[in-house]
Symmetry: C2
Subunit: 312 residues, 2 copies
């Protein structure tokens, strides 16, 4: 089984209180691909410019990500984002965005994308997400991410796109904004009414929450003393989540709440590694052993036992 | 074994998007007492004015809270707080504070307080907290709560008071503010260095996190569709936590990380009930059965199982 992702491939310039990088590989599809590559056969789709070179391809290919779907635009420049984080890291400030080749992006999938069993529509214009989704009618599980920009300027399209997916990954503030519901539980239930089986509320340093038809599950973020660069954490989360879902489907596993709880934990695991260094620097060199150890770490920080109590 | 709390006893006027109350029983010591009363023998200490009547005493006494330590000041008026919450409920806005009898409060404990095995120093001036703590040298477990005001105007005193307690309950933003550390893990570890065994970071709608010498535990807030009034949630949390600690000590239990994780869960349980109605209206009528059911609910929304995964 294979997993396809459509989204941005970028050069990022990032400054945090702990250092900076002037130009490094980034973008939602890149962070997603690397994180999911530990679990599944991943195909990445998105446009790049002529400035996208062997070094960048190598980072993806070293993790066995299939890069045939990267569309290299002659004479074009790769999407560029410059941002910085303040001392508290919870809020990214965008200093510059150059869409470049991403401005004219019209996703045309190849056969390996159309045959993907699991599909991730990273945070791009919702019309494009829907166009991609329609090119993959046989996908067994489709998820999307989005952001406040699309809620502001393309809300109806986003709501329509949500109707056609199995899972929605969004920040909790965005879920509230999209539904106009201040209570997150109500807001998530409203999105579930539109059709998805799952709503995943990303909560940054507080972790993530999963809403299903009858269920709820929440997992804290891993307690890290050194968070270096949060860029890409959300896409790494989605990568760990959907990577596990793909492997689980491949093994004939059922997509029940138990499976989705494990997917949440793999998502949180990959996000926790992502923030430990700039850009892709931590995740691209990870080992399965490290992932397994941190998964166990999540169990260790969340489990508790009941004992008899007498109530007065 | 008994549990004593020193803190404010108040009349609150609260307005939320879901209704309002012009004058209801409130205050940190009241919320704490009611929540802890389900687990332990509780003695409440604090000043009230002549306007504090039988109806208010009855709310506490119906839950078997010992009110002998309530000091009724002749000619005085009870502490009064007026506040409101906006649509998102995460931020309380104070519209009026009348300290009244609380302005001249000098806690003089009676024998039953001095003999208390567990002591909670609710959010009052840190010099007063220290004075109370020194009157109870034999207490087996002492905890305090505090707030941004004291960090602003009495930081050194607060840090000194923290050195003499076993547990610190504070909002995560306040823990960061007090230590000047933006990373919560580092900030909490810094407070542990001062002497306490536990630092509990209250995180509002995101739940709470527990830091111990070698451990970490986090629990989400219970997913509620209807949060009516968050006033007193933090004190109800501390009440459930320390109420359980008192009962556990009484049974000869050891205060290890397992016990504190259960205490966190009872704390979260009581906080989740507290916000379901105005002021004390939900907690004062609770049953042990409801508490046990919600404790089990917390287990249901946080547990997950590991399975074998192959990493690529």
């Amino acid at each position: 089984m294979s997993l396809a992702v459509v989204g941005s491939i970028a050069f990022d310039a990032v400054k945090t209180p702990f250092g900076e990088r002037e130009r490094m590989l980034g973008g939602s599809a890149v962070h997603f691909s690397l994180a999911s590559s530990f679990f599944a056969d991943v195909h990445v789709f998105g446009p790049v410019g002529e400035d996208f070179g062997n070094e960048e391809y190598a980072i993806l290919q070293n993790r066995s990500v299939n890069t045939d779907g990267i569309e290299r635009v002659e004479g074009g420049k790769t999407f560029f984002w410059r941002g910085h984080y303040e001392y508290d890291l919870n809020m990214a400030h965008t200093d510059d965005t150059q869409l470049n080749v991403f401005g004219d992006f019209e996703p045309k999938l190849n056969d390996s994308a159309r045959d993907a069993d699991v599909l991730f529509l990273a945070n791009i214009q919702p019309d494009l997400q829907r166009a991609v989704r329609e090119q993959c009618p046989d996908a067994k599980f489709v998820a999307l991410d989005s952001m406040n920009l699309w809620i502001d300027i393309a809300k109806d399209s986003l709501l329509q796109t949500i109707q056609g997916v199995d899972a929605v990954f969004m920040n909790d503030a965005e879920i509230r904004m999209l539904t106009g519901q201040s209570n997150l539980v109500k807001a998530a239930r409203e999105l579930l009414q539109l059709g998805p089986r799952l709503v995943i509320a990303k909560q940054g340093e507080y972790g993530a929450a999963l809403f299903t038809e009858h269920g709820f599950f929440a997992l804290p973020a891993y307690p890290l003393e050194d968070v270096i660069d949060p860029t890409g954490a959300g896409d790494s989360f989605a990568g760990g989540f959907l990577g596990y879902v793909t492997q689980h489907l491949d093994e004939g596993g059922e997509l029940d709440d138990d499976a989705f709880r494990r997917a949440m934990t793999y998502g949180s695991t990959m996000a926790s590694f992502n923030v430990e260094n700039f850009g892709t620097e931590r995740v691209r060199d990870l080992t399965g052993e490290e992932i397994a150890e941190r998964f166990a770490g999540f169990k260790a920080i969340t489990q508790f036992e009941e004992v008899a109590v007498s109530y007065r």
